[in-house]
C-alpha cells in the first residue's frame, strides 16, 4: 500500500532529480524551445518541497493535489499548467483514502495523463510529455514492481521523440527543424516516472 509519506518522498526525490538535471533540461529546451524548461521546473519543484514540509497533508490525494496547485502557482509557461494538472487531477482521482494500492494509483495517474492530453490538446506522437507519460501509464499494473517497467517505458518514450516532428507547443514553430532533438517535456516526464520507480524499490 502507498501512503501520504510515500508520495511526499516521491515528490521530494523528484525535486532533487530535477535540480540535478536542470541544466540538461534547459539545454534540450534551447535546441527546440526557449531555454527555460530546467530552471522553471527547478523553481516549481523547490516550491513543492517547501509547501509539503510546511503543510504536511495526510492523504496521498491531498499530497498530489497540493503539489499540483503549487506547480501551477510557481512554474509558469506551459509546463506549470500541464504538470500542475497532471498531479492535481491524479490527486483528485485518488480521493481521500489514507492509503492506496499501486493499481489504484495507476488508474489515477492515467486520469491525470488524460487531463494533460485534454488541456494541451496533444496526443502521442506530437513530440510532447505525453510521449513519455502514455507508455508509462500503459505499463503500470497492480504492483509496485510495475513501476520499474513504467520507468523503462517512459525513458524509451522520451528517446523516441528524437526523430519526431513537433506538432504542439513552441517547438512546433520549428516544423521539420524540430526533428533530431529529444523533447524536453518528455525528458522531464521520464525523470518523474523514474524517480517513482526509485522511491518504490
Amino acid at each position: 500500500m502507498l501512503d501520504a509519506d510515500f508520495f511526499r518522498r516521491w515528490l521530494t526525490a523528484a525535486a532533487v532529480c530535477v535540480d540535478r538535471e536542470a541544466g540538461r533540461l534547459t539545454e534540450l529546451d534551447s535546441a527546440i524551445g526557449d531555454a527555460d524548461h530546467g530552471s522553471n521546473l527547478q523553481r516549481g519543484f523547490a516550491a513543492v518541497t517547501a509547501v509539503l514540509e510546511k503543510e504536511a497533508p495526510q492523504t496521498p490525494g491531498a499530497v498530489l493535489t497540493l503539489a499540483g496547485r503549487q506547480l501551477i502557482s510557481t512554474v509558469g509557461g506551459a509546463s506549470g499548467p500541464l504538470y500542475g494538472t497532471l498531479l492535481r487531477r491524479t490527486g483528485k482521482a485518488l480521493g481521500e483514502d489514507a492509503e492506496v494500492t499501486p493499481g489504484r494509483f495507476a488508474e489515477a495517474l492515467r486520469a491525470g495523463v488524460a487531463a494533460v492530453a485534454q488541456l494541451g490538446g496533444a496526443k502521442a506522437g506530437d513530440k510532447t510529455m505525453l510521449d513519455a507519460l502514455e507508455p508509462a501509464v500503459a505499463a503500470l499494473g497492480d504492483t509496485t514492481a510495475s513501476f520499474a517497467a513504467a520507468s523503462e517505458a517512459a525513458e524509451r518514450g522520451a528517446l523516441a521523440t528524437v526523430p519526431m516532428q513537433a506538432r504542439k507547443g513552441r517547438a512546433s514553430y520549428l516544423g521539420e527543424r524540430s526533428i533530431g532533438h529529444q523533447d524536453p517535456g518528455a525528458t522531464s516526464s521520464a525523470l518523474l516516472i523514474t524517480t517513482l520507480a526509485e522511491v518504490s524499490s
Binding site: 534547459t26 534551447s30 524551445g33 526557449d34 531555454a35 527555460d36 530552471s39 522553471n40 523553481r43 501551477i72 502557482s73 510557481t74 512554474v75 509558469g76 509557461g77 506551459a78 509546463s79 506549470g80 499548467p81 500541464l82 488541456l119 494541451g120 506538432r167 504542439k168 507547443g169 513552441r170 512546433s172 514553430y173 520549428l174 516544423g175 527543424r177
Partner: protein, 330 residues
Amino acid sequence: MRMLINVPETVVADALRGMAAAHPELSVDVENRVIVRRDAPVAGKVALVSGGGSGHEPLHGGFVGPGMLSAACPGEVFTSPVPDQMARAAAAVDSGEGVLFIVKNYTGDVLNFDMAAELAEDEGVRLAKVLVNDDVAVTDSLYTAGRRGTGATLFVEKIAGAAAEEGAPLERVEAIARQVNQNSRSFGVALSAGTTPAKGSPTFDLPSGELELGVGIHGEPGRERRAMMTSREIADFSVNAVLEDLPPTGPVLVLVNGMGATPLLELYGFNAEVQRVLIERGVAVARTLVGNYVTSLDMAGCSVTLCQVDEELLRLWDAPVQTAALRWGR
C-alpha cells in the same frame, strides 16, 4: 556573459524595483509581480490586463497607464506568468465594468490565462479574452499551435485601451481588440540570437553572416535561414510576406520594431525601406511608430507590423496615452 545583472534568479524582481522607482505613477507589486496603474480601479471603466514572459520590454509593463493597459503581469524571462498573478491583477483593476485579458498566442500564455480566467470568474469578475496571433512567419494548420502573437499586441493594447478609456462597455472593447488583431500582420527577422540570463549563452545558434527570416520573439525560428541581406532586401521580404497574407484595402499603421540590440540608426534606415516598399505596393500609411517595443532581450533584428485602420481605429490610435514607453496627446 556580459550582462548588467546581479544573479539570474533576481533579474525580474530587480527590474521591477527599478521600474517602481522610475515611475511613481505606477503601483508595482514586486513580490507578486503585478504592475498596476496607480489610480486603478477607475470607476466606470473596463480594465485591460495583459502579460507574458519578461525579456520583451517595454511590453507589457511599459504600456500600463491612462489610455492603454490597467495592469500587466510579467513572468520569468520568456516564461508566461502564473494564473495567480493574472487573477490578482484582474481583482486589483476591476471597477465592476469587467476585465479584458489580452493574450499572445503561446501555449503557456494561453493555458495560464485560461486558468486565471476561471479563478477571477470565481471571484465574480466579468471577463473577456482576446488572443493576439499576427505573425505570418508560421502558418496556422491542423498540426501547429497556430500563429504567434507579436507586434500587433501593441496595436491591440493601445486601441482597445483608448476605447476603454472613453467608457466603451466590455463587449465593445473586446470587439475592437479582436478587430485590431484581425487587421494586423507581422514578420520578424533576427540578425543575432538573444541571451537569456538563466542560460548565459545565445538561445540559438546563428552563424555570423546569416540571418533568420520569420524569427519569433523568443528566438524560435520561422521560415528560413539565408546569407546576410541588405536593409532594402529585408524590407522587401518582410513587407511582402505581410502584404501577401493580408492585402490592405485601406490605410495602415506601421510598427517598425527593434528586437533589443539593433540601434535606432538602423531601425530608421530600415523604416525608410519599409515605407518605400509600401509606396511601391500602393499602400497608404496613416501613422508610423519606430523603436524597441516588443523586444527579445538582446537579439539584433527587427519586425514589421501593419494594421489596417478605418477612421475609428485611427482616432483611437491618436487618442491620448500616458505610459512609461508610449505617450502622446496629453
